[in-house]
């Protein structure tokens, strides 16, 4: 099927406009991170008057960025690993068994994803605070509380994507393993998981990204000690000065790991969505 000249030009125009729309903010983020402070305090410039890496050094001392970074790293990694572990078992059950309540579970899990976060925020806040007062288990303003909260945020989508992945693994493999005498769990760990590695990795990155980027609960459920990047980055705007160059530098630094991870694995997201969306 040949492409007509009109289609070719249409494609070029659409792609150019979309690329500009996407690139301009990214360009500003990268170039402004290399600007001296006076460049971002006066009028906008397309290029730094004197390119410098100073903002990447100063950003660590203007706010306790290292602490926020560690908090975010700890919370997001633990939440991602736990979320995927829980999702693997649930997805295995949904994909390989027919049991009473299977349909209800699938629908219920996905629908919780759709509820307004603000609806859980107030009760969860009160539950964490009161639980802390009553039992001494510190969930409010602690990283543990954030981990538990975040891991449920990515759980529904992780389960959904993994079910799609597991469904696409031929059941003949399960049966062969069972003939060899493997129980269900050994089948899961030795047959299904090795075949679903790309899916599991993609879901882990998704869960990490979800926790890494969450703002609403981070802004209410943390204090100075447990503050994550989502809230911490706002510290660069003081009453006297907005360090835009440092904000851009810090934004760049905290974005690179997730962007690289996501782009490296985008193929598997598409595959997972394809598998899941066909249902």
């Amino acid at each position: 099927m040949r492409e007509t000249a009109g289609e070719r030009w249409g494609r070029r125009i659409v792609l150019t406009l979309l690329a500009l729309f996407v690139v301009i903010p990214l360009y500003v983020m990268v170039t402004s991170a290399a600007k001296p402070l006076q460049d971002v305090q006066n009028g906008f410039t397309w290029w730094p008057s004197r390119p410098t890496l100073q903002p990447f050094i100063d950003m660590w001392s203007t706010v306790p960025l290292a602490r926020y970074l560690v908090n975010s790293l700890v919370v997001s990694s633990i939440a991602a690993v736990c979320s995927v572990a829980v999702a693997i078992f649930a997805a295995f059950a949904v994909s390989r068994y027919r049991f009473r309540g299977r349909g209800v579970f699938s629908v219920a899990v996905l629908s919780t994803q759709m509820f307004p976060g603000i609806l859980f925020l107030l009760p969860l806040f009160l539950i964490y605070v009161n639980l802390g007062n009553a039992t001494g288990i510190e969930l409010y303003a602690s990283r543990t509380g954030l981990v538990i909260t975040y891991l449920t945020f990515s759980l529904p989508f992780s389960i959904w994507m993994l079910v799609g992945y597991f469904d696409s693994i031929p059941r003949g493999l399960d049966e062969a393993a069972q003939v060899d005498g493997a129980g269900p769990l050994r089948t899961l760990f030795q047959v299904i998981l090795p075949a679903a590695v790309p899916g599991v990795v993609a879901v882990t990155v998704y869960a990490f990204m979800t926790a890494w980027g969450e703002v609403l609960f981070a802004s209410v459920m943390t204090d100075e000690g447990s503050r994550t990047l989502a809230v911490g980055l706002q510290g660069y705007s003081t009453q006297f000065n907005v360090y835009w160059n440092q904000i851009m530098a810090a934004s760049l630094v905290v974005s690179i790991p997730v962007v690289v991870g996501f782009l490296a694995l985008q193929r598997y997201f598409v595959a997972g969505l394809t598998a899941g969306a066909v249902k």
Binding site: V22, P25, S32, R98, I127, N130, P156, Q178
Partner: protein, 330 residues
């Protein structure tokens, strides 16, 4: 969905012929065969109950209490007042009710426009990137980047672009193109709504693109060949092949995007630094501010529950209507 036997469904299955049949699954043998699936699900169910279901029930209960700042430390003392919170916050003649209604309309307009534009950009990109050419992989990665960025990093960058005196937008519009004489404010006043919309489209359209791209991979190439042999041009193929084949993806995608944008908190919260201007006062921000400003969690919960009910009704109506339309086609 799986039981329908409409023509598009049958076509859609075809590329998956190599994958396992979707019939009844043979159960792995084992003594606890009937209990095992429940054990496997238990952690997920317990977590969902603890973080989503129980707080939701508590939230409904809170909405029936006079849970103001006087009772917040020990909320077992808060008096039960029935539907009083709902009456007070949803009373459209009161100031609070008027503000809530205003916020509702702003949110509705924001969601519909944001979803519409995100879908439009997503389908454009997915369609023009459908056939291979040099540089396609790079463009695809570039287009997905806004979605991969942490939301606060993306939105903070936009708030820098939209600064009145130091931002790129005014620099281009006023200094370079000379389209405007005055430097407008983008983050306060009437413009703030449009700023919020642009930022939200920038963030969300890659998700639409990703889903539509995945959906297009399920469209067999022969359909296009056949349409082209029949003399169908670009628009005709789009209307008669691409869009009908994407219908199942679109049904889910539009609803999900609508619910996300309607509940959106992050974008306005970061863009406006927690104090959204009236013109961009999305409902999540509205509830958040009125709850934590006055510490009146009772009426905050009432508003949240009302929001949930509204979204449930909209989702149910949407699913009913789209399912009926599909049955008509069968």
């Amino acid at each position: 969905m799986a039981t329908s036997t409409t023509a598009p469904d049958a076509d859609r299955r075809e590329p998956r012929a190599g994958s396992p049949a979707r019939g009844p699954v043979r159960r792995p043998r084992g003594p606890r065969r009937s209990l095992l699936p429940y054990l496997l699900l238990a952690p997920a169910v317990v977590l969902e109950l603890a973080i989503h279901v129980i707080p939701m029930v508590v939230g409904v209960w809170m909405s029936l209490l006079e849970l103001t700042q006087f009772h917040i430390r020990d909320w077992s003392t808060a008096p039960f007042i029935g539907l009083e919170n709902y009456r007070a916050t949803l009373d459209l003649n009161s100031a609070a009710g008027k503000e809530l209604l205003h916020s509702f309309w702003v949110t509705l307009a924001y969601s519909l426009l944001s979803v519409g534009f995100a879908w439009l950009l997503g389908i454009s990109a997915a369609v023009v990137l459908q056939r291979p050419f040099r540089g396609r992989a790079i463009l695809r990665a570039l287009f997905l980047t806004p979605y991969a960025l942490p939301v606060y990093a993306a939105v903070i960058t936009w708030s820098f672009l939209l600064q009145r005196d130091t931002g790129l937008v005014n620099h281009v519009l006023v200094d370079q193109l000379g389209l405007l004489n005055e430097r407008p404010f983008w983050l306060i006043g009437d413009n703030s709504f449009w700023s919020l919309l642009v930022v939200s489209v920038w963030r969300n359209w890659p998700f639409a693109f990703l889903c539509l791209m995945a959906g297009l991979q399920n469209v067999p190439g022969e359909l296009y060949e056949a349409a082209a042999i029949d003399g169908a041009g670009f628009w005709r193929r789009l209307r008669s092949v691409t869009l009908p084949m994407l219908r199942p993806v679109n049904l889910v995608l539009l609803l999900v995007l609508f619910l996300w944008t309607f509940n959106d908190f992050n974008t306005p919260f970061v863009l406006f630094g927690g104090s959204a201007p009236e013109q961009a006062d999305l409902i999540s921000i509205h509830i958040y501010r009125s709850s934590f400003k006055t510490w009146d969690f009772g009426s905050g919960s009432a508003m949240s529950v009302a929001l949930l009910l509204f979204l449930l009704v909209v989702s149910a109506a949407y699913l009913l209507i789209t399912n009926r339309r599909r049955d008509d086609h069968a």
